[in-house]
Symmetry: C2
């Protein structure tokens, strides 16, 4: 069983990729909808919340965990690994950076992210570890999350294209051939983003993390069987509205049930 | 002394209006930045949070309170008044509806608000009480708050004008002569909104509530003296970044200090 947590529901786009790669695996998803967003919280608070999220997932019989929240990935991964040394934990930042490093040919990498993720320079730090020669241009894209959550997701949506053109101006001008979509919300508007930077390879960080999880599970002998895995969804505020938002990220209607938990107890 | 609370910092636009009308009054402001936004929470949670906010304000020597959060105004006003029967409490919804009712000539009123406020139909209910003949057209404007908070506030900003045109389409087509800016963030982009609906009177709900507070204070003999009131700011998460956002809403740099409190204790 794989555990995935996110500060909200964006991580469902990563769950979708994990399902695609490992349809036989059971997955438990926790979205901390009662305390979203993490990006504006203090580091101390982010670590506390992430540890509670991890504690909740660990109360299930999980083999590995994906941290689908960029803020949690860049602030809390070490703490989580110390607390759970026997559980492999993959963060979207590291996995996304590795995938971008593989994809680039001209070594110019654009990074699109939330203001908090961009401010943390977490992708730059990881990319610099991989290759000191990368030229990196980062762009805070504060309008992308509200555009996604409110359904402005058509590849031809005028507002989304204008927002992408505005946010990504420096990356486009620098000629990046690879663009990290550094937030699990962003793959939903990859169509409109592609319209304004058509020559770049877009890196879906949730898909990159799912790919690494697949390798870990395979190395443990957990390969494709004929069964279809079950998905359990948990959130920390009222699940009201969950179906609408979830269907945006999953690209299909939700059939499994969703339950509310009191995350402060973990 | 006047108390003002909001789920975040948007209420500072209402504080600005209160300062303009009552420069001699002391004001204590609480922004619940650690638990923002309220609009996505359950009614039970909104009431609990609002009562804690009110408890905190009441720990100061306040004469009256403005609830600058639309979500709290539409869900918690009765509870707050029951808990504090001796303190006048003005909500932005009621005050805004009354101001719009006075302003309209053709009785066609547009209501722009957050998805949560629009979903609650709180303005419609109040307007209907005032005059059963009003034609009301409401529009959820989910992009306005992120546009404001990320500085897309110029009257000529292309994204903000396009967002306004998209969000307010039905209101423009209905020929409303009055538009309620049903969220304390929206006055900041009144310039761009005016560009797409130039013939409408825009109702600043924070200003309307401040005007009602001024009348209450005056009726208590608290009229203009020669002193300049003091403002105290409190928030529930790290004040980091407070100055930047606050200066957007206040239209000037903050000189007073801001303190963090643990709102869960109230």
């Amino acid at each position: 069983m794989i555990g995935i947590f996110d500060s909200g529901l964006g991580g469902l786009s990563a769950l979708k990729e994990a399902r695609r790669l490992m349809p036989h695996e059971d997955i438990v998803y926790f979205g901390d909808t009662g305390r979203v967003p993490y990006g504006t919280r203090s580091r101390e608070t982010i670590i506390k919340y992430s540890l509670q999220d991890m504690n909740f997932l660990a109360s299930h019989n999980i083999d590995a965990v994906m941290v689908a929240c960029g803020t949690a990935s860049s602030n809390a991964l070490d703490t989580l690994r110390e607390a759970y040394p026997s559980i492999p934990i993959i963060g979207v930042i590291d996995a996304g950076a590795r995938a971008a490093a593989k994809a680039t040919k001209n070594n110019i990498i654009g990074i699109a992210g939330t203001p908090s993720t961009i401010g943390s320079r977490a992708f730059e730090t990881k990319l610099r570890e991989i290759n000191g020669d990368f030229e990196m241009i980062s762009a805070a894209c504060p309008l992308f999350v509200p555009l996604v959550e409110n359904g402005f997701i058509s590849p031809d949506d005028e507002i989304t294209k204008l927002a992408a053109k505005t946010h990504l101006k420096n990356i486009i001008e620098a000629g990046a051939d690879t663009l990290i979509l550094g937030c699990t919300h962003y793959p939903i508007i990859a169509g409109a983003i592609s319209r304004v930077i058509p020559y770049a390879t877009l890196i879906n960080v949730g898909a990159a993390a799912a790919e690494e999880l697949r390798e870990i599970m395979a190395s443990r002998g957990r390969v494709d069987t004929n069964r279809i895995g079950k998905v359990q969804y948990f959130v920390s505020d009222e699940p009201q509205g969950f179906e609408r938002i979830a269907s945006i990220f999953l690209g299909e209607e939700i059939t499994d049930s969703v339950a509310r938990i009191d995350i402060e107890k973990y």
